[in-house]
Symmetry: C2
Subunit: 219 residues, 2 copies
């Protein structure tokens, strides 16, 4: 559905850099940074890689965000915000209808909403990268805070039990994200990978594969 960059092709470099309002350029950089950080992690990514992905020079990136750390923190904050918003929307549109049994239980719809986020690629990966950079005092604190923010929302707003949340986080989020990171690269190249991914994503498999940019033949 919603792709990150609209004009100028798939994602990467522009040949001639046009003058664009700072606010818009800021969005472009954040979108590029989301992909690059999600892919390579905080310390693995360089400001120059972000700049190239945004079709802009490296000093511009640094000057607009002050430091690489600031840029990463804003990427993570936005990713978290997007995730929370998506979940809250799913909660809201679930409320009015029913009481009793669900044709489509809430947790299933939350899971589907989460998998849809893979379409944007950088969002979930950046969150994961932030969490795994937990040793850093600043980034780590933000990451843990965000993780628990999700937990509290699922508990207090969705009304789930700790056990249910645990299951949802493990099966619906972490597992899917980690699989979506790299296993698509060897899809149809390794029978075990294909088997596991088909089992994990089921109907949403095409979304995952499409988002990862892998070419594959529909079964």
């Amino acid at each position: 559905m919603s792709r990150v960059s609209e004009d100028s092709g798939t994602a990467a470099k522009e040949t001639t850099t046009e003058r664009i309002p700072a606010a818009l350029r800021r969005e472009q950089i954040l979108a590029a940074a989301s992909r690059v950080f999600g892919e390579r992690g905080y310390s693995g990514a360089t400001t120059d890689q972000v700049a190239q992905a945004a079709g802009i020079s490296q000093p511009y990136v640094v000057r607009m965000f002050g430091t690489k750390e600031n840029l990463f923190l804003e990427v993570v904050a936005r990713a978290l915000d997007k995730l929370m918003t998506t979940f809250r929307e799913t909660l809201a549109e679930h409320r009015p209808a029913d009481d009793g049994d669900d044709a489509d239980p809430l947790i299933t719809r939350l899971g589907a909403a989460y998998v849809d986020l893979i379409d944007d690629r950088g969002i979930l990966l950046s969150l994961m990268q932030a969490f795994i950079t937990g040793h850093d005092p600043v980034i780590g604190a933000k990451a843990r805070e965000g993780f628990l923010q999700i937990y509290r929302m699922l508990r207090d707003e969705a009304g789930f039990s700790p056990e249910t949340i645990r299951d949802f986080l493990a099966n619906g989020m972490l597992f899917n994200t980690l699989l979506a990171i790299r296993l698509p690269d060897i899809f149809e190249d390794d029978e075990a990978a294909e088997e596991l991914m088909r089992c994990a994503f089921r109907g949403k498999l095409d979304v995952v594969l499409d988002a990862s940019g892998v070419t594959w033949t529909r079964s």
Copy 2:
């Protein structure tokens, strides 16, 4: 039970470096590297940090393993080997006894064996770090290969279905590892973190907290 370094206190620096056979020194470096890489990731860790953790000079580390990449690859290979061995031992000691229903089902024992590995700290974290460094052509390939190796073992040797494996990997491994990475740092400091961890680890909670070196008051 088994700690990484035996003599010279908890883990880190030695004041006077003694002459030690290369083979033994190699083990010390690998143990230190496992902790450092697990904590900070491949690109986040430096050879000097590994050297200091091993109580040795940085050039020695580089010369013994050639490159930082080689060192990391060997850390990951050993971690994977340890994990596979642990699982196979659990499988073996399960076989002879029963046929019919299990007092302690195999998957529960595998899960317990996995959580016990947290005691060593670096093992599971290094594997996780390797998998998240999937963009690197060499490291990524090894990580995916290792991940699928585990999958195949659970399928072919333990006889689990893809669905069962999916559940085991998500709940038993990924989730526990990610929680064990950083949430212990804020255990008893955040009610949500404490609640989630108590739910996730149950009887093994003390193992996780002990392994992370967090001081906490027993409930």
